[in-house]
């Protein structure tokens, strides 16, 4: 292990330790794109110098693996690996491969059919099912065509918010693994406000949303405050809080004097009042939930906060270079506390829209895995609000498509988790993607490393 990495065609450049966090908190993809472009225009090879306009920029981005290209290749690679897992866990396929020497065609076609069936079901459940179009021509519902897309939007809603929560903390140089606990904090408050008090229609829903934000924000604040006062690492504290809140959720759902539904032995809360529920809009079903709009508004708000406000500037400065921030007179502890508070609030809001918009009751089914998937959403979205929304839509599509796939082809929905994990793993390791696809070293990506240990 001396200096062999330098001999690899597209291995990591030892001088530029690149980190996902660096991508997240440093200059982002759009700036990186433009820098790549200008670098080509001034000092690129002569062949490419003759080409001008948008074309070469795209070629350059592809050849050098801009963040966007790396992301697309990462998704592609993950889908290919997922396909292999689906095919080679199929007993019919394995059977066909056992007699590969006798009938190689049969083995290959069995593999193809296994994968094609699963992935087309995934696509039909997530985006568009051709059958609904022909059905519409024969007197079926036109709305049914858009049903998969509405499901995708619904699934993406809580993920947008938990993703924003993790992304916002990232930009301030904090790693919020605790979106799951903050989700619970928000959801408990929302559920309580939802069934225990009575308010007029719109007001009740708004009060619940605010309560959800507050419930998550308290937990986020606790993490930020502990870090600011005692230096307790936010990763450790948030991991521990996840389990504390998980136990608390079990406790309140199993205690009749707390949140347990009267007359129930199961861990489930009462249903929240109709006034507290978020309606669905957009004509006849299928419709988009108001929660989705809330999530989009939150994304716009986070964008404004980060890119246009003084507070956001402080977040980004502290995240990119704490020493510079301190020199410039910014209060690092204050930034930590505020960033974690808002991040926690966003995760709490995710709990609110899940309860108010989808399940109307709190139990472990509505708890789901939004907090943990939010981490991967934020990473895939490179900690930018628009990126988070797109990543959440992608994962939402996987979730809604995965449910259809499981129902129609008996491929377990857990494969979605595998594909999501692989995508993020590849996105986090651009050198790997570059090596696999023989891309050249990106010139604009040498962002300062933000490597942080427990002591950082």
């Amino acid at each position: 292990m001396t200096s062999d990495s330098g001999n690899q065609p597209a291995g990591p450049d030892p001088a530029e330790p690149k980190q996902v966090l660096a991508n997240a908190s440093g200059p982002g993809s759009s700036e990186a794109d433009s820098t790549t472009h200008s670098a080509t225009a001034t000092s690129g090879p002569p062949v490419r110098d003759r080409l001008r306009g948008a074309g070469p920029a795209i070629i350059d981005a592809v050849v050098h693996g801009s963040p966007t290209v790396v992301t697309i290749l990462a998704i592609f690679s993950a889908l290919v690996l997922g396909a292999l897992v689906i095919a080679f866990s199929d007993t019919a396929v394995l059977h066909a491969w056992n007699s590969f020497a006798a009938a190689p065609g049969a083995a290959l076609s069995a593999t193809w059919h296994s994968v094609a069936a699963a992935y087309s079901a995934l696509f039909e459940g997530a985006i568009f099912n051709p059958n609904t179009v022909s059905a519409a021509f024969h007197g079926g519902s036109i709305g049914a065509i858009f049903y998969p897309l509405s499901q995708t939007a619904n699934q993406a809603t809580p993920l947008i918010l938990t993703g924003l929560s993790v992304a916002l903390a990232f930009r301030a140089g904090l790693f919020n693994i605790g979106a799951a606990s903050q989700w619970i904090g928000g959801a408990i408050v929302v559920t309580y406000l939802g069934f225990a008090i009575s308010l007029p229609p719109v007001i009740h829903a708004v009060v619940c949303l605010a309560g959800g934000f507050a419930g998550g924000a308290v937990l986020g604040w606790l993490v930020g405050d502990l870090k600011a006062r005692t230096g307790a690492h936010e990763v450790i504290v948030t991991i521990m809080l996840n389990y504390i809140m998980y136990n608390l959720l079990s406790y309140v759902l199993g205690t009749p004097t707390a949140l347990q539904r009267p007359g129930q032995a199961n861990l489930i809360s009462p249903t929240i009042h109709a006034n507290a529920q978020l309606p669905h809009v957009g004509g006849p079903p299928p419709q988009v939930g108001v929660g989705f709009l809330v999530a989009l508004a939150a994304a716009a708000g986070v964008w404004w906060l980060l890119e246009r406000s003084t507070v956001g500037f402080e977040f980004r400065t502290v995240g990119a270079n704490p020493s510079a921030a301190r020199t410039a007179g910014m209060s690092i502890p204050r930034t930590w506390v505020l960033a974690m508070l808002i991040a926690g609030g966003l995760a709490g809001l995710s709990g609110a829209v899940t309860i108010q918009g989808t399940f109307y009751t709190l139990n472990f089914q509505s708890y789901g895995t939004y907090g943990f998937v939010g981490i991967t959403v934020a990473l895939l979205g490179r900690a930018k609000p628009l990126g988070v929304v797109l990543a959440a839509l992608l994962f939402g599509a996987f979730e809604s498509g995965g449910a259809v796939m499981q129902a129609s082809t008996a491929v377990p929905i857990d494969i979605i988790e595998v594909i999501e994990g692989l995508i993020v793993l590849f996105v986090a390791a651009p050198p790997l993607i570059r090596a696999v696809y023989r891309l050249r070293q990106a010139r604009a990506e040498g962002v300062e490393a933000v490597a942080k240990g427990w002591n950082g």
Partner: protein, 426 residues
């Protein structure tokens, strides 16, 4: 500079001492007010031998309420002493241990005299047996964490190592029909996760915390997928492994009380003993350990004197992974015999907590893991005698304790200096 630092630290130290003292006094007050005042009359019975064992040790009978008063009083005295007398570090830890022990005894005495017990004694031997059993995956996982982090690589993927180890052990032992092969493949699975962690962290400079979280997600997905796809439809072939039986160590296993707790268990407990000693001695008394710690504290200096930093990091991650994999194998072929979805259920994170709580030392991590194992055993015991305390409240204890630890309330917790930072040769 140092004088200034010391001066600044004084109020913090005073605060910390007062806080520690207040915590100890609070425990004493709970003993008295909760377990004493609202206690029930009658004797609590602590059984010290297993039902039907050859040598029977007489049980201890203790009146619950006076026990709580006395122990609570002593706890408060210790708390006051903690605030006024400057104690040595050993005494500090001892005082915390004693107060916790008194708390547990009062709790057990209180719970064994309630109307809900139906005269079932508190079997101390069974409780401690379960403690050790619950602690095995925690200890092995925490040792894996120590191995990685002492060399400077953060390992959040302990959870994934346990889960994949459990999965592989069950599947291989079940398909091949040899338990030992299951144990070995479970261990190798943990090592494989360590290798992947190393490859991405060391070669591709991926942030190690992100990496751990993603690997856990990935392993949860892949094991869950294969479980639904293969193990559920054909459980007889793939998920029917059986378990290792207990092996009594001749001589030692016959000692009353101690024998059944420490020397009459499955092979996993004995492997765990060996692993604790190997890692502790290895890290702190051998040349290898000195190198590992040098790499974890100051990789540049280590490199300068000719230590291969990256090789040590890889090797430690894989070796640690092998240990965590055994811990995972314990969950299936050491305990229940079959794999179920996400069966590690956060144990890897508790192991991580135990490592931090134990200040990145194998012995400390072991003690912390035993403490956490004890709360688990206590939880299931209290559940079995239907004490009106929610098991979930008790379930929070390890996590709350860890937050208190990292917040510096029980002394400063400090990670290896280069932990989590990728090493790049200048």
């Amino acid at each position: 500079m140092t004088a200034l630092a010391a001066e600044i630290r004084v109020p913090a130290a005073t605060n910390r001492r007062l806080l520690a003292s207040a915590t100890l006094i609070a425990f004493g007050l709970v003993d008295i007010l909760l377990f004493g005042l609202s206690g029930h009359h009658g004797d609590a019975t602590f059984a010290l031998s297993l039902f039907g064992s050859k040598v029977s040790v007489p049980s201890i009978h203790a009146p619950a309420t006076p026990v709580a008063y006395v122990l609570g009083g002593i706890s408060i005295a210790i708390g006051i002493a903690r605030a006024t007398v400057t104690e040595s570090p050993v005494m500090k830890r001892l005082s915390i241990g004693v107060v916790l022990l008194f708390f547990v005894i009062s709790l057990l005495a209180w719970s064994d005299t309630g109307s809900w017990t139906h005269g079932i004694p508190v079997n101390v031997v069974v409780l401690l047996q379960n403690t050790l059993a619950d602690a095995i995956p925690l200890i092995l996982g925490a040792l894996a964490g120590c191995m990685g982090e002492r060399a400077g690589v953060i390992n959040i993927a302990i959870e994934g190592q346990l889960l994949l180890g459990a999965f592989m052990a069950a599947v291989v032992a079940s398909t091949v029909g040899v338990l030992w092969l299951g144990l070995i493949s479970g261990s190798l699975a943990g090592g494989l996760v360590g290798l992947v962690l190393g490859a991405f962290a060391i070669r591709y400079f991926v942030d190690q915390i992100i990496l751990g979280v993603v690997l856990n997600l990935l392993i949860s997905g892949i094991t869950g997928f294969l479980y639904d796809r293969l193990l559920v439809p054909d459980a007889n072939t793939y998920n029917n492994a059986g378990t290792f039986g207990p092996v009594k160590i001749p001589g030692l296993g016959d000692i009353p009380v101690i024998g059944p707790i420490f020397f009459d268990s499955t092979i996993f407990l004995y492997i765990t003993y060996a692993a604790i000693i190997l890692v502790q001695v290895g890290l702190f008394s051998t040349r290898w350990g000195l190198r590992v710690r040098a790499v974890g504290e100051h990789p540049t200096a280590a490199d300068t004197v000719g230590i291969n930093v990256l090789a040590i990091r890889y090797r430690n991650l894989v070796l640690g992974g092998l240990l965590a994999g055994i811990g995972g194998a314990y969950l299936t072929i050491g305990s229940v015999g079959t794999f179920s979805k996400d069966m590690s259920s956060g144990l890897g994170y508790i192991a991580l907590a135990a490592m931090i709580f134990g200040r990145w030392t194998p012995l400390g991590a072991t003690l912390a893991a035993l403490l956490f194992g004890f709360t688990e055993a206590l939880q299931s015991f209290l559940g079995s005698i239907t004490v009106p305390i929610s098991p979930f409240i008790l379930g929070m204890a390890p996590y709350v304790a860890t937050i208190i630890a990292v917040a510096g309330l029980v002394g400063r917790v400090q990670a290896p200096a280069a932990d989590g930072k990728p090493y790049v040769r200048a």
